[in-house]
Every structure is written in C-alpha cells, then in structure tokens.
C-alpha cells in the first residue's frame, strides 16, 4: 500500500503527534472529449501528523492543485479516501481551510468584514467576536487597514487577509495552494516568515503546495516530491534543518541543491 514512499534515512526521531489527515490510494481521472480519460492523480497515499508542515513540491501540471481541491472537498476523488481525524471528507468545511493562490477575498467587504465573514454563523457573543477579529487583525499586522477594501490594498496584504480569515476559524488543517507565488520576492519572504511565526504559535497542520524549491526547503518538515503524468508521489523527504532556517546558510543551500537534482532526475526519466 505504501510502496511509493521512500523515507530518507537521516530522519530524526519519529514524531509522536497523532495522525490527523490520512490520504489513501487517491486517484483522480478527468473525462476528456474524445479519447478516454486523463489520469491526473494516481495512488496518492500519505498521512499528516498534527502540527506537521508538509510541502507538496512539483512542476506545474503534476496535479498538486487538484490534490488540494480534493482534500478541501471541492471535488470528489475518482477512487481512494481522505480521512480527517478518522472521518471521511465529503464536502468543504471550516476544519480544512484553503488559502488560494489568486485573490479570493470578497471585494465588497472591508478587510475587517472579510476576516469576520466565517465567524458570522458561530455562536459567540459580540464582544468575544470583536476581540477575536481584533486579535487576528493584529496578528497579520493589518489593524490600521481594517476599513480598507481589497481593491485598495497590496497583493501581500490581500494574502494576509486570506490567511487571517481562515486562521480565525481555527481549522485543523491549512491547505495552501501556492499562496505566495504571485507576490514579489521581498513580499514573499515576509509572508513566509509570517506563516512560520503563525505556525509556531498555532501549530496547525499545513499542506503547502509550491513549485519553488527554495520555498519548500525553507518551510517544510517533509517534502512530498511529485512527478507528473499521472501525478504521483515520487519521494517523501524529511528536511531536518534546524529552525529558524536562514536562506544564506550552506546547509540550506545544499538542501536546495539536492532537491533540485532530484527534480531534474524526474525530468530526465519522464
């Protein structure tokens, strides 16, 4: 069942945290007009422990976004199962929140209203709600911008709002679909640091899709290296660099280089 997993040898002591997310032999095919089906994902099997930061790394077209959509419950898998805390995932819900790559804020709501959106249905008294919203506004450093509309703020700020509006729902798992890919290099680095700080604080389980090797090495405890045609897990790699990780260290650089070499190898074979 887990033959596709090759755990790298130098793994630190295995984490004792309980498994929250179990993905078992997930397949996804899309119907095309004419010549049969296209297999997008094949036999995806892995699990995520509580508080783990897992990066899904692969070239574009390897099905990583599709995988995230299935995990979020936006589309059903063709076969296989997704379980969160033992219960099968069938539809979207606030226990698995997604941060999208593109701007997915509600343009007619202010920053504050966007962050408050998911709380509306929660049973919570006014003051608690207000305090929660204030807290998350300040966590993403947007207190001064609470009354701005999305069209009036920068791309980085928008992604901070996207982050805050799901964090406030206290999801079990955060699904992030190349959330920083559209940002400039400096803003991206700020966002990566912010994400790490928030992760250290809240200990969410995070599945982070990216095609950026440097980003994966900076963030991940584990990297699931994807190959395409059909999309599948090539390798499950543990990154044991100590934190805080710095981009100007040799260890970081070596990790990036070996990861790039692995990706190249896939390309040559494929």
């Amino acid at each position: 069942m887990r033959t596709r997993l090759h755990i790298v040898k130098n793994e630190p002591q295995p984490s004792q945290a309980p498994v929250v997310f179990e993905i078992d032999q997930l397949c996804k095919r899309f119907k095309t007009n004419g010549s049969g089906d296209v297999s997008v994902l094949k036999d995806i099997t892995f699990m995520a422990r509580r508080g783990e930061m897992i990066c899904i790394l692969g070239q574009s077209g390897c099905g990583k976004s599709t995988l995230l959509k299935i995990l979020a419950g936006f589309m059903p898998p063709t076969s296989g199962s997704v379980r969160l805390n033992g219960r099968p995932v069938r539809r979207p819900g606030p226990d698995r929140c997604m941060v999208f790559q593109e701007d997915a804020l509600f343009p007619w709501l202010t920053v504050r209203e966007n962050i408050a959106f998911g709380l509306k249905d929660r049973r919570m008294d006014r003051d608690t709600k207000k305090r929660e919203i204030d807290r998350f506004l300040s966590l993403v450093d947007l207190t001064d911008f609470e009354n701005y509309l999305p069209q009036e703020i920068s791309g980085g700020m928008k992604q901070r709002v996207s982050l805050a509006r799901v964090l406030i729902l206290q999801p079990e798992v955060l699904l992030m679909d190349e959330p920083f890919a559209a940002l400039d290099a400096q803003t991206r680095e700020e966002m990566q640091n912010l994400l790490l700080a928030l992760w250290q604080k809240f200990k969410h389980t995070i599945l982070f899709v990216t095609h950026d090797v440097g980003e994966a090495v900076l963030l991940a405890e584990r990297i699931l290296l994807f190959e395409k045609g059909p999309g599948r897990i090539r390798e499950d790699i543990t990154i044991s660099l100590p934190r805080p990780r710095r981009k100007d260290t040799n260890a970081y650089f070596l990790n990036c280089r070996s990861m790039t070499a692995k990706i190249k190898a896939i390309g040559v074979e494929g």
């Binding site: 539809r91 819900g93 509600f106 007619w108 959106f117 249905d121």
Partner: protein, 267 residues
C-alpha cells in the same frame, strides 16, 4: 470606504446640464425665428407656461390645469407595480438559471424567443386578456422590464468566480446563506445594470400601456393631447416623463447603494 461619487469642482458638476441647455437654446432659436411654425413646435416659453398650468394651477383654471399630481401618481403606481413584478420574478429566476445549467437549458430558448417579440404586439392580446385599464399597463410594463432584469441577473450570477463560492463553502457557508452573502453581492454590478435598464424600459412601456383609453396617467395625457391637437401638452408630457424617468434611475441607484454594501463598494 472611499466614496467614489464624483464631487469634483463645479465644472464637472455642470457638465450634465450642458446638453439640455444647448438643446433648449437651439429650440428657442428655431421656434423664435419662425423656422419651425408653432403648430409643429411650440416655443419653449409656451411649453413652460403650459407645464406650469398643468402642474401647479387648480383644476378648472384651464384645460389640463392641475391634473399633474393625479396623472403622476397613477403612472408611477403602474410603473412600480409592473417593475416590482418583473423584479420579483426576474431576479430569482435569473439567479437560478445562472447557477443551474439544467434550468438555463429549459429557459433560455423560450425567453430569448419571447424577448424578440416587440412589446407593442402584446398590446392587442393584453387588451383582450385584461381589458382596458391598469391590468394591461402593468402586464406590459412587467413583461418589458422582466427581460433585462432576468438576463443581466443570469449573466452576473454565471460570472461569479467559483473561487468565491468555494471560499464561502470552506468557511462553512451553506447554500442559502451563500446565495445572499456571496452569490448576489458578487453579481451586484450586473443586477444593478439590469434593474436600471428595466426601470428605464418600464417608463417606455407605461406610455404604450396607457395609449389604450385609460383616463389618467402621463401616457394618457399625451394621447389625449394628440386627439385635441395640443402639441404643447404632448411636449410637456414627453419632458415630464424624461425627468421622472431620470429621477427614478437616480433614486433606484441611490436606494440600492443605501441598502447593499455590494452596490456601494464594487470596484
């Protein structure tokens, strides 16, 4: 919350009135110099006097004197009833049809075929069905206003990014709340366009509906004046409908902006 309405210097505020002013100027010259005889185009001064009499004088102080309020209320009520009916049917149907491909398939051919039928061809049928009077007028207004409202709502709802709906779903928003909290606000610019077009066309069809021998209303006024050869009254009727139509448009827009954040703040 930036107010996007233009509160520029007086020049930009004066701009909308340049064209009407120019129009009245040319009109004065044309009828003042006798280029157009009074039985074809009365002088603006005469029209203004007639309008004053029609609007402000007491009944009995001259032909048509003091009838304005009555006509205005009758016409406005017909427009509002017809428009309201069109909104009540057009927006829900448009929203469902924009979301569900099956409903869209069922409706679109029929609605687009009916849309091609000019409103005036319904008039004889409506008169047979509903007789002469308010029902016929309301029917025609509702029918005419329905199409732009339905079509724009449908287009707007169909163009709502699925990502917004997915974002709502993951935040635990179920279908009903999603409709009112995400779908309709996201489609709001289109819905507003549809409502404004529908409101405009309502006034156009009001006159059509009032051509048929109802005793009161602005359309009836124009028809009546035609029979009596009172061209000044016809012009007064036309100008009043233009003014009221514009005021309704502004009023509708302001009302929507007052009631809905999404109408105020869309980019």
């Amino acid at each position: 919350m930036i107010d996007r309405s233009s509160t520029g210097p007086w020049q930009s505020r004066a701009l909308p009135w340049v064209l009407p002013g120019l129009f009245i100027l040319i009109w004065s010259v044309v009828s003042g110099t006798g280029m157009a005889p009074a039985y074809l185009l009365p002088h603006p001064g005469d029209v203004f006097a007639t309008a004053f009499q029609y609007i402000f004088k007491e009944a009995g102080q001259g032909a048509y004197a003091g009838r304005f309020l009555e006509d205005f209320l009758a016409s406005t009520m017909r427009v509002m009833l017809g428009f309201g009916l069109a909104v009540a049917v057009g927006i829900p149907l448009g929203a469902v049809s924009g979301r569900l491909i099956v409903v869209n398939r069922i409706l679109s051919t029929t609605i687009n075929a009916l849309r091609a039928v000019p409103g005036i061809s319904w008039l004889p049928l409506a008169m047979i069905w509903f007789g002469i009077g308010i029902k016929t007028t309301v029917f025609l207004v509702a029918l005419a206003a329905f199409f732009p409202i339905y079509l724009n709502t449908e287009a707007g709802v169909r163009q709502v990014s699925p990502i917004l709906l997915q974002a709502g779903a993951m935040m635990g928003v179920r279908r009903l709340r999603g409709t009112f909290a995400i779908l309709l606000p996201a489609a709001m610019p289109h819905i507003i366009a549809g409502l404004r077009l529908g409101m405009g066309i309502s006034w156009a069809y009001l006159v059509l509906g009032e051509l048929t021998g109802v005793p009161d209303g602005l359309g009836a006024l124009i028809m009546d004046a035609r029979m009596l050869g009172r061209i000044d009254i016809i012009v007064v009727g036309i100008i009043l409908i233009a003014i009221i139509g514009r005021l309704c448009d502004v009023g509708l827009h302001q009302f929507l902006r007052l009631c809905f954040k999404s109408a105020r703040r869309h980019p």
